[in-house]
Subunit: 362 residues, 2 copies
């Protein structure tokens, strides 16, 4: 009888949020999916809007106290079970010698178009050039230690950073970037190589400062078809995956609009593939099987639904993700400013409810 | 000996451009792929910029003489083998009673958010409300008759038109549209149903005026994941496909960013699926087989390559598309303003060169 009870409720039922996230990343059995939301520290929270009042975004990223508070808000206010470093993918760029402005997207005064400009890019020790990033991580880790809430670090992927640096600003089709890809491939290759060096050092320093998991955001790599992605993006992801201290912190790879490059994402060797809402997660789970865990992938707009509908959506996604070795519940993209707070709350509650219904790995 | 020669060079070697396009749409054997480019009448052509000088876009769409000239330019200047009606997907909208402005994307003074607004939408006879559209088609058909160049008509798909009408303007994530999808589905359904009525009448009138082929542009349907696409978009495409005079003019369906909904596009029953450059056309061709023809799918930015590289890209795409029953050579998206004219010329020349190397269907 005791034995039977143990089979139904295995040891994994007592996981804390850090164990749950790390085990999910690595494909070990867990009681239920961990949950957090991309852009969970954001304008949909009145408390966040108040904290940001009168402050520029970059300024806020450098203000350790406020950045920590912003990172903690979603834990306290909507029940998220992981804190992510409050920062921007462009945080490490100015120290490379590039002037960046936010209006509000990153804008580059002098877009990078030549090898000469790339030669001049510096790769300083991030602990010296952006000390606040690591201080934020250390404080978060200490603050969240007793609740055993994990801390995530992150960086922008080289292709996405290069997209802005070459184009000079956000764009619908990034024509200048793609012109470079076709007409001056050696320049783009040199730029990506420099950025890869930076990203590897930056993420390893975040791991050293206490990040339990790191996420690489490739917002624009989905602009490429599979052949171009394989040439320009996959080797960069694979190099980063190979050079990170992965025994200490698993790597989540997010490629926005990447439904067509799932096989290539898988080849990168990342521990977790973070899917946008366009991907059929059931099919993705069958394809990755025991080779990677998945993260995602509710449409951020679906948080407009009723609490019951959100619970049903979460249950559907969680069941569809079963064939993958692990699953982290998240959105398919960042949380939108007009999202109802109660929708976000319902989302994290729905993850907790999964633990009561259906122990995973049992 | 004669028999052997006939096997190598069958009757299809003498196809004219209209026959080549129509046979390709229907999956009948052809000598080589037909070729045209989306947004081939556009700013990359100095002659187009001159013609547009000092003219608003909508104004130009209503000026039959200039619109005809713009439609003919790519035939004369860069060797395109099909003319497409010079117009905009928003051309039929003002007559429904909606105020539209271009700045430069369509902007709606009073976004549609209620059933009351939808009830007021009119569906006038397009021959009366937009007579210039049909006049342009008739003139094009007459002008191009001796060269046997086919004429294409087009319309925006209901989902894309609804996206602008609900959102009020272009958007990155169309949050207002998706909010309606989740929170007031009956309103979006009513709007799409009205727009479907309009599109069916508008395209059938274009066929009556002489369009050899019509293309339905769904620019924003790729925003949806496969399940939402199946609910909101597929039934609309299928209804349109069923109600068009398809024996007279085949239907091409273009879904931008639709790599993840290829199976759903196929189920619509359209004759030709137009793929963006993110789709691996080899895989798509294997999946559609003899059930549909394909159109596409060179990355518009790849026209920045050298003539030799463009020839190689076209050859690669054409070979990859072989498993599909037919293939129309085109870009994966509209031609960009900064495209070199000689790149476009090389693209159409490359299609003609295919006929010399490798007769298709032989």
């Amino acid at each position: 009888m005791n034995g039977a009870v143990e089979t139904v409720r295995p040891a994994v039922a007592t996981l804390d949020p850090t164990e749950r996230l790390l085990r999910s990343c690595r494909g070990e059995s867990v009681d239920r999916p961990p949950v957090w939301l991309m852009r969970q520290a954001g304008r949909y929270l009145p408390e966040y809007r108040k904290l940001r009042e009168g402050m520029g975004f970059l300024e806020m990223c450098q203000d350790v106290e406020r950045a920590v508070e912003a990172s903690l808000q979603p834990i306290q206010l909507v029940g998220s079970e992981a804190a992510i470093l409050f920062s921007d993918i462009f945080t490490p760029i100015p120290a490379m010698g590039v002037e960046v402005d936010f209006q509000p997207g990153p804008t580059i005064a002098d877009p990078i178009r030549s090898l000469e400009q790339i030669d001049k890019l510096r790769i300083p020790d991030p602990r010296e050039s952006t000390p606040y990033v690591f201080e934020i991580l250390r404080v978060l880790r200490a603050e969240l230690a007793s609740a055993r809430i994990p801390v995530l670090g992150f960086a922008g992927a080289p292709f996405t950073l290069a997209a802005y640096l070459v184009e000079g600003k956000g764009s619908k089709d990034f024509a200048a970037l793609k012109r470079m890809m076709y007409a001056a491939p050696e320049v783009l290759r040199a730029l990506q190589s420099r950025l890869t060096e930076m990203v590897v050092g930056y993420l390893n320093a975040q791991i050293e400062a206490g990040a339990h998991v790191v996420q690489l955001f490739d917002t624009w790599a989905g602009l490429l078809g599979p052949a171009e992605y394989r040439e320009w993006v996959l080797p960069v992801h694979a190099e980063i995956a190979a050079r990170l201290e992965r025994e200490r912190a698993p790597l989540i790879l997010y490629v926005n609009n990447g439904a067509h490059v799932l096989d290539e994402m898988l080849e990168s060797g990342a521990d977790v593939l973070s899917l946008d809402w366009r991907v059929d997660i059931a099919e993705a789970a069958r394809r990755v099987g025991d080779r990677a865990s998945l993260q995602g992938n509710l449409d951020p707009c679906a948080l407009q639904q009723t609490r019951e509908e959100i619970f049903a959506s979460v249950r559907r996604i969680s069941e569809a993700a079963q064939p993958a070795r692990g699953h982290i519940l998240n959105l398919g993209h960042g949380c939108l400013p007009d999202t109802p707070v109660e929708g976000v709350r319902a989302f994290t509650d729905a993850a907790r409810a999964l633990g009561e219904e259906q122990p995973r790995g049992a």
